[in-house]
Each structure stands twice: as structure tokens, then as C-alpha cells.
Symmetry: D2
Subunit: 346 residues, 4 copies
């Protein structure tokens, strides 16, 4: 597995975390389930915010829709209530419903009061990109079992590239996939982390910009952008909901610096969460009572997080491409791995 930095594709000035991964945020783990039999090139990727039950121990969260041409679910409630209630799943566009049902079934199994006694239900969060170029997406092949397998596979040292939900994705005419990056920030004298995981399936062939300003010759005939990109951001820095929204919005900077203009067909959607100051199922703090204590960042320090988000997002996209080999899929459709093209360009 080649990482972006091994190809000289690191981005920006801030120091990375130890893994240069979303799992540098303590507790965050990622799992994959891949489906590659026959014409299938698809799968599921799971992001778990911590090791406990997310329904009962909810991270504060926010979302930002840069381009709503997409079919993700769960965002509406994230921004109304400001919390996650389940792990986050990524998959292909037509499998969102199945993955959502899988999250619901798991949440009920662990919390039998869901849907009983007026305590409400559960909000599954599933985001997607269209892998239909390489994958027989019409097969609706992803199952609840695949979703479960991705959740069960969660680990801090996870694979990137053409794996899980990234299996069949394309990016700037090259092979896309799952990528990650992180940045380390010092606040009040202690180390904190901000990490990003992307499902990269966007960008017109010919538009890719490398960090040194080179534009890479198109590996495929130019075509209208028809992909999407999902950015999941995790941090251990305490932020209120409004601040988290401001931070994740800056993922758009990273995408623009990769050469994208946020094309019409690209559903660009960002979800961020902090592991700090979590709330219980009633929306309160851990101590009970009518009020929950939390911390917010002094707004004057937020530029560090903006910069970290821009850098990590740009690099995570390149990381997804760096780790992906050339792949042939449905009907012989083919995407070249960036490594091979870089060999030619260098």
C-alpha cells in the first residue's frame, strides 16, 4: 500500500499525526468490506468514532453540503441535533438504503428501547459515491452482511486505496478510492489531532493538479464530471456545532486545490465530528441534569483547524489515488492507477 507522501504528494505545512490518518484521533477506527466478484467492484467502509455504543455515547457532529447532487442519508438530523447516533458507513449510491437498514438493525440489537416508549428511533448515517463506471451498480449487490462485515473489521491501522467503498471509485480519470491524512495541532499546551478520510470519486480527467502545480495529462478522454466525493473529518478538539460546521466547510479548499471546480454531477458532502464532550441519548452531558458542560475553541484559534482541514483533505484525495492500482471492471472499463501515470510524468 503506497501512501501519498511516498510519492512526494504530501500537502501543506502542518505536521502530520503518527499514522497520517483519521485514526490519529484517539478511538477512531475504520473497517472495510469489498465485493469484487464478477462485474462487482464495490463495498462498504465503516468509520467508528469511538469504541463504545454510539447510540448511547454520542459525538458532537456537523455536516456541510457543498454540492447536493447526492443521495447520502442522516445529514438532516446531524445538523438539527448536532450529534451522531451510529457509526458512519460509506458505500455506492444505490446501496444507501440497505446500509441504513443494517445500521438500524444493529442499533436496535444493542438498544432494545429504540422505537418503544416514545424515546424516538435512530438516525443512520450513510454516504455514497457512484462507482457505476467500474462496478455493476445495478446489481444492488451490497448486503446488510457486507455492512456488518465492514463494522466488524474496524481497526486503527486500516487499508486505503481500492478497498471497501473505494473499491470501484474513479478520480480525475484515474483510479480513485479511500484515502486519509491527519494534522497535529497544539492547543493549550497539549497535542490534538484533526484527521480526514475521503471517498474520492470526483474530478474531470485532465483537471488533476499536483501539489507542485503540475497538471497531469489525461489518462482517459475528458468527460463530464459525474462522480462525487465524501469527506469525513474527526478531531479530538472540543468545538461547538457552529464551529464544527465552519471547520468541515474548509474541505472544499482541499478539493479545489486538487483541480476540481465542484462539478455539477459531483455530490460533495462533508461530515465532521469531535470525540470531545460527548452527550448521552437525551442530548445531555454525562452527569445528568438539565445542562451539559462543553468547551468551545476560542474563535481566534480556528484558522489552524481551517488550514489543517484544507491540507488533510487535499492530501487524502491524493492518498486514495496513490494507494490504488490500475483496475479493470464492468464491461472491461478500466482506470489507471496514479502511480503508473506519475512514472510517465516524472
Amino acid at each position: 500500500m503506497t501512501r501519498a507522501r511516498e510519492l512526494g504528494l504530501g500537502c501543506g505545512d502542518l505536521p502530520t499525526g503518527a499514522r497520517n490518518s483519521i485514526a490519529d484521533v484517539a478511538g477512531v477506527r475504520v473497517g472495510h468490506a469489498s465485493r469484487t466478484e464478477g462485474d462487482l467492484r464495490t463495498g462498504v467502509t465503516a468509520i467508528l468514532p469511538h469504541g463504545g455504543d454510539v447510540f448511547r455515547d454520542r459525538p458532537r457532529a456537523a455536516s456541510h453540503v457543498l454540492n447536493g447532487f447526492g443521495k447520502s442519508i442522516g445529514l438532516m438530523q446531524i445538523d438539527e441535533l448536532g450529534t451522531l447516533e451510529t457509526p458512519i458507513l460509506l458505500t455506492n449510491t444505490l446501496s444507501v438504503g440497505t446500509c441504513g437498514t443494517a445500521l438500524i438493525r444493529r442499533a436496535i440489537a444493542a438498544n432494545p428501547q429504540i422505537g418503544r416508549g416514545g424515546r424516538g428511533t435512530v438516525n443512520p448515517v450513510v454516504l455514497e459515491c457512484n462507482d457505476g463506471f467500474l462496478n455493476d451498480i445495478q446489481a444492488l449487490a451490497v448486503s446488510e452482511a457486507d455492512a456488518g462485515a465492514a463494522l466488524d473489521d474496524a481497526r486503527a491501522d486500516f487499508a486505503v486505496g481500492a478497498v471497501g467503498a473505494g473499491t470501484g471509485m474513479s478520480c480525475f480519470g484515474f483510479k480513485g478510492g479511500v484515502g486519509t491524512a491527519s494534522r497535529r495541532l497544539r492547543l493549550d499546551g497539549a497535542a490534538h489531532h484533526l484527521g480526514v478520510l475521503v471517498l474520492a470519486n470526483f474530478g474531470r480527467a485532465g483537471d488533476l493538479l499536483l501539489p507542485d502545480g503540475r497538471r497531469l495529462a489525461p489518462p482517459a478522454p475528458p468527460a463530464a464530471e459525474s462522480g462525487s466525493v465524501i469527506v469525513i473529518l474527526a478531531t479530538d478538539i472540543p468545538l461547538e456545532h457552529r464551529q464544527l460546521q465552519r471547520v468541515i466547510r474548509r474541505a472544499g479548499v482541499g478539493l479545489a486545490r486538487c483541480g476540481a471546480f465542484w462539478g455539477n454531477g459531483s455530490g460533495d458532502v462533508f461530515v465532521g465530528f469531535t470525540t470531545a464532550d460527548r452527550v448521552d441519548a437525551d442530548g445531555g452531558g454525562r452527569g445528568g441534569g438539565d445542562f451539559a458542560a462543553l468547551r468551545a475553541l476560542a474563535e481566534g484559534r480556528i484558522d489552524k483547524l481551517f488550514q489543517a482541514t484544507a491540507e488533510a483533505t487535499q492530501e487524502a484525495v491524493l492518498d486514495a489515488m496513490a494507494a490504488s492500482d490500475t483496475m479493470t471492471g464492468r464491461d472491461g472499463n478500466r482506470r489507471i492507477g496514479l502511480r503508473h501515470a506519475l512514472g510517465g510524468a516524472a
Copy 2:
């Protein structure tokens, strides 16, 4: 089937359409599938905007989220692109994924290019309320076949009350369900219609306001609002997307006049569409070319539509309650029909 007006619960000043129903908008049809075996009190309701294929012949549409404590899908893309690509399904909260998958499968069957050749996928629209008080919602009983049955059942003369998605709903401590109402408006010398269909599952016991100002004694002990309400608005009046958003927002007026304060637990979501000036799958008009002709309402006339939306929404909620008999459901939980209570109140 008792309608709100038969109980003296008509609202407002504007004239109704012939059916006083969303189907007064020509072409709009509604179908139901109900599941009432054992502890199930649930189902699916389908709203079809016209008689053709919605994926190829797209109504202009918009949504408004009054309270995002809900799990509806498809709204994000409606507001990015301003169109519907499928019929609208209503169901219980935990069955959204299954109904979405059903819509996808139908769309692919009729349009085999979906997910092939870079033409993108399809955006299913499914909205929901939590019927868990009367229904064994944990059973996840709604199937793709139920969704198909609701779509196949579509007709202009459809049932209201405890039917389809409305089967197990509750409203202000009474039995809720599906209700409808319409208003007739004259513009440029011709008759036009604006119709509303609600899935009414909201309101604290004791808070119900009748149109004459009476507040109805609580049929059930007061409890935190934990339901939701979905409002689907249809019109044949040409509107641009911005105007459609302004119009559907006024559904909130109707809810407030019923006695709701848009409670924390009530995911209040509105979707509106116009059957005028539809677009093709490329987002263009029927004649091809780079531009599509449409008409917008002169903004100075829009108050009529605001008033119609407020009146029809308020009345559709009362219509859902008027048509619903007392029901006993899961674990002997019971909701009184409004008719019985009105007998006592009168």
C-alpha cells in the same frame, strides 16, 4: 370515511377544489399499502406527480426542513437540482431504506441506463414518521413489495385516515394518519389548484386547537412530543424553485394553528412540486437545446399561495384525524379517534 369538513373542521376562506384533495391538481394520484397483522400498524403511501415516468419527465420541486429531527431521504438533491426523479413514498421511520431501494429498483427497470454510461443514478424520495406507539416498528416489516403495492394502488380518489403510511400514526394524543385538502386559485383568468397531503403524527396531547379556537381536552396523558409531520404539496401553478421553497415553508403556519409549537422530537419536513414546465433527465426543457423555458409567478401574487398552503395544511391535519377511527395496536396501546372525542366535546 369522514372528512374534516363533515365535522365542521374546515379551515380558512379560500374555495376548495372539487375533491378537496391533493388530487385536484390534475395528474396527481395517491396509493396506499397497509400492514395490520399482529402487532403491525404500519404501511406505505405513494404520491405520483403525474401519469408518466418521473425519471424522464421531472416535476420542479423544492423542500423545506422546519425541524430536522427526522430520517427522510432525497431532500438534499431536490434542493440542489430542483426536481423530483421518482414518486414520493411515505412510511415509518425504520423502513425508509427499504422503500428507497424499492424506488431505485423500479426506476432502473424502466430506465436501464441508470448507473451506466456516466449518466448518473436516481434520487429516491422517502419521508417518514415514527409510528412506534401503535406499531411494532422494530419488526422492520415494510417490504419492497409493500412499496410496490402502494405505487400500483395510485388513484385520484384515495382513502384518508388510518391507511397506508398513516395506519399507525398518532396526533395530539388522538389517532393520526393521512389527510388531504386543496384550494382553488384564479390566475391569469384560469383556475389553478394547490393541494396538500399530510402524514400527521405530531402534537402533544392537550395542545390541539380547533379552527373555532376550542382547545380539546387531552384524550391521553400529556407526554413529550415525539412524532413528526410530513407535508407534501402539489400545484399546477408555474413557480421557480425559489418560489416553491417560499410556498411550502408556509405549511408551518398550518401546523402552528393546529396547536403545535414544532416540538423538539417532531421532524417536520415539507416537499412541494409543480406539474407545470417539467424538465427532462438532463435538466433541460422538452424542446432540447441549452435553455429551458419556464414561467414564474409574479411575486406580488404569491400571497394567495401562502394563504392556500396555510389553510390546506391546517385542514389536512384535521382531515387525517377526522377520518381515523379509534385503534388499538402494539401491546394494547390505544389512540382514540377524534370523532369520538368531538362527540364528547360538542
Copy 3:
């Protein structure tokens, strides 16, 4: 000065604060400057969130635009940064610029670093309604001195009705103006308050609904709604920005229950702030450091605040009308005071 409750126009179930006024929130004060010479019927109303310097000691704040047909200033930054930097001024539509400049000049006088040394500037907040029916609004008569006089007049026991910014306002065809109401809430065993002040200048003649369900015969010929309404909400309850946005949105419930459908021409704008857990000019807490401690409400308790907002807004509108006498203004235009009409209706 007659209050709404003296006319039997109290709204809802929750107990009021001692003054039934926004000033029941400790520290909040209100001042007026009125201009009634010749054809002028206008003025300025100031809301001060606390007794200190607002630029250095910033209340957390949020806004909600129900209908953006209006010219208020300062809202954009309130929702980006979540704070107030100046007192809030209310005035007529064409005097917003002058009042904004007055707030800037005061802020600079007290904080000479504004606009120097890269520390940014100051965000004046001014909201408005169109008093052009009774007032010669074209005269642009409101001066910076009037704004200063309103600020200097601030007090806890302030006048309501046709005074300050309310001098020339109209409401449902009657005389409108400034009104207020409050509700007392118990949280974590202590008394808290939520108060509302409205500048009421909205509603079609003939549409007014009284709390008992009566609709009041039109005192003026029906005409298109062309006014607006501003709602300022204050509380001492700790809320994060997202929660404050949810709370103030419920002001729309109060307006709907008064009989409005949020007409096209009515710019309906709400601003709320909490006096709890304020921040300094750098966006941090009082203790310095990179993080600020704050408290949020356990979300499950927020319905109390929603109900309080709905009730207090409805009552504050009626309070504005109750306290206003019949007025004749520009060109002999005349608005009847609600008291006189109620005499006839009773």
C-alpha cells in the same frame, strides 16, 4: 399604558416573569427615542443585553430569517460567529444605515483599537420595519443622535406601544408598535427567564386572531400585507448556538397564531441571545486560554423553551397593539388602537 393581559389577551400556559417583559432576563434593558413632529411618526428602540460594554463582553447570539423581504443588518455575522458585538437597534426601514453608523461610532469611542492593528472592526445589528403608512419615511429623519438617545434611555421598566421604533407601525390594520412578554422556566432547580420584544408591523387587516379564537372585524379595508415583524429574544438559559437557532425559530409559531401567514411583503426576522457564558472579543471565554467553557441545555428539555417562545411572541404582538392608541399620521392616514375595536367586539 395598557398591557395585553389587562385586555384579557394573555397567551398560553406558562407563568410569566415579574414584569412580563424582556427585562425579566436580568441585565436586559430597553430604551426609546420617538420622532413625532409634523408628518413624522417614527423612532428608534434599543435593546441592551447587559450593563457592560458589548464589544468586549459578547453574548452568544443567533438569528433566523423567516421571510427575508427586509433590510436588517448584522445577521450574517451573528450566525457565523455566534455573538453580538453591539446593542440591538430597531428603527424604520430607510434609517438602518444611519443607526448602524451610530453604533459603530459608539463602539469605536469605547474601544479605540477597532479598525487598528488587524483586530477587525465591529458588527452593528439594526433591524427594521416599514412605517411608511403613518410616517413620512422618505424624510430619512432618524439621526445618529436619535440612536444615541435610545441607547441612553435604556431601562428595565420601559414603555411599550406606539413608542420608539414602534411609533408609526401598523399591525393587522390596527395600530402596531413595540410589545413584550416573558415566561419563567425552572431548570436544574433554579428560576430562569425567556423574554421577547417585538416590533409589530405585519398582518393583513381582517386576519387578526385573538387567543380565544375570535377573528376581529377589519378596521381598515383589506390590503396586501406590506409590513414586517422583528422578534428579539433574550434568555439567561445557557444554550449553544445551534440550540439558540432552534429556539428563536419558534417565534414563527406565535406569529401564525396571531393570524399571519408570513405574507410576501413581511420581512420576518428573529434575533436571540443568551446572557449566559459570554465570550470576549477574541471569541474565547473569560479565563483566556484556547478553550472556553460553556453549558448547553440537555436537548430533551428544549420543548419548554419552544413553548415559551411561541407563547411570549404571540402575546408580545398583542401587547404592542394593546398599548397603542389610535394614531393619525402622514397625509391623514389613520390606524385605530386595538382597545377601541375590542370595545366594539366585546
Copy 4:
């Protein structure tokens, strides 16, 4: 006056209009008034969408707030009603009120019915950046006469650089100002234009990226971003409001490619308008009647406009810097012109 292209700083692939300016959109004109006496380095820039009276002949318009840390006025109504009612003024942060009043006074002079007879008022649009580093912004020196002078100066061949509102602006530690660029697009067989004008006052010293990927050595010590950037977009392409919002949002791509991460202190605000299919003061089309005919772009063609917006915005920022000489202002504060630095970097 040196343009960006003369320094080799052209951006992107699409052809420019004849002037490479916002005035390539037929009818659009720009005027400036500059104030440079003593410690003043400030002014006003006016953008006129067409040669007629904007209050009676309204361009369809939309806005997008990328970062709301700013004090612009008029945006709220633009997005509610979708039109401009006045020319657009740009100025310094503390002069917004005065410029707004100037626009109101002009509109009344030309339309004496404003504020009379229930026909509403007028919505002035003024946007701003903080020029306080070079300018004595506390002087509040900009007058209504300056605003009038900028409006009267409007022409198709206008100056860029340190002129009008751009006089005292800074950008990436260099001298900023006003810049412009345009792109020519072919639709339905005819030439159309999309033009951008920026007021560039943003970016941290050291972060500037040139189109060839070079990062320019900081001319000033790094400091927190405390500026802002305003982007005005004009086009003759027919678009509905929703589409115009999508298009102007892509200005953020251009800013990111210049090296910005949309810093905390930078109020980044975009306003766009189309000169096609304008509406009258009642919101209707030219022919009267209840409906207005308009055209929308087939959504599948919108990527061209996204790309044009990204390219033109990036280039307009560099254009503002290219045309600006080194300037010394308030208290001897100094900003180097980019030309001088490029000499050293080349």
C-alpha cells in the same frame, strides 16, 4: 495599468471576453471614487447592471456567503426575492451604512412612490472589506457624495487595482484592490459572457499561490488573516435563482486556488446577477399578467459556468494585485505591489 495576463498570471483554459472584464457582459458598467488625502486610503466602487433604472427593471440575482465574518447589507432580500433593486456598491467596512443611505436617496429621487402607498421600500446592496491597515478607517470618511461620484463615474472601460473601494486593500501581504476577468461561453450557438469583479483584501502573507504552482515568499511578516473578499459576478446567460446560487458558489474555488483557506477573519461574500429575463418592481415579467416567462439553463450545461467562475475569480484576484503599485498609508503602513515582488521571484 498592468493586467494579470501581462504578468503571465492568466488562469485556466476558457477564452476571455474582449475586455477580460465584468463589462464584457453587455450593459454592465463600473465606477470609482477614491479618497487618498492625509491618512485616508479608501473609496467606493459601483457596479451598475444595466443602463436603466434598477428599481424598475430588476436583474435576477443571488448571493452566497462563504464566510459570514462581514458586514455587507442587502443579501437577505436578494435571496428571498431573487432580484437586485439598486446598483451594487463596494466600500470599507465602516462606511456601509452611509453608502446604503446614498443608494436609498437616489432610488427615492427616481421613484417617488418608494415608501408611499404600501408599495414597499428599496433594498440597497453594499459590500465591504476592512482597509484599516492602510486607511484611517475610524475617520468614517466616505460620504454619500463619494457614493454618488462612484455611481456617476460608471463606464465599461474602468480602472482596476488600488482605486475606488480597492484603494486601501491588502491581499496575501501585498497590495490588493479591485480586479476583474471574464470568460466567453457558447450556448445555443451564440456567444455569452460571464464576468467577475473582486474586491480583494484577503489571504495570509506567505500563502499566495501563482497559477504555475509557485508560492511567493512573504513580503510581510505572517499574520492572522483579517481581511475579506467580495466577488461580484455578472452574466447574460439566463439562469433561475437556484442556478445562479450554484454558479456563484464556485467563486470559492478560485479563492482556494490563490492559496486561501477562507480564513476565520475573512468575510467572503459573493453576489451574482444575470441581465437576462429581468423583472419589474412587482416581481413580474415585462408583459404584465400573473406569470413571467424566463429561461433556465439545461442543468447538464452548467459545468461550463462553474469552470468559468472558478477561472475568472482566481484571475480577478491576481488582476487586482497586478494592477496595484506599492502604497504607503496610515501611520506609515506599507504594502508592496505584486509586480515588484514578481520581479524578484522571476
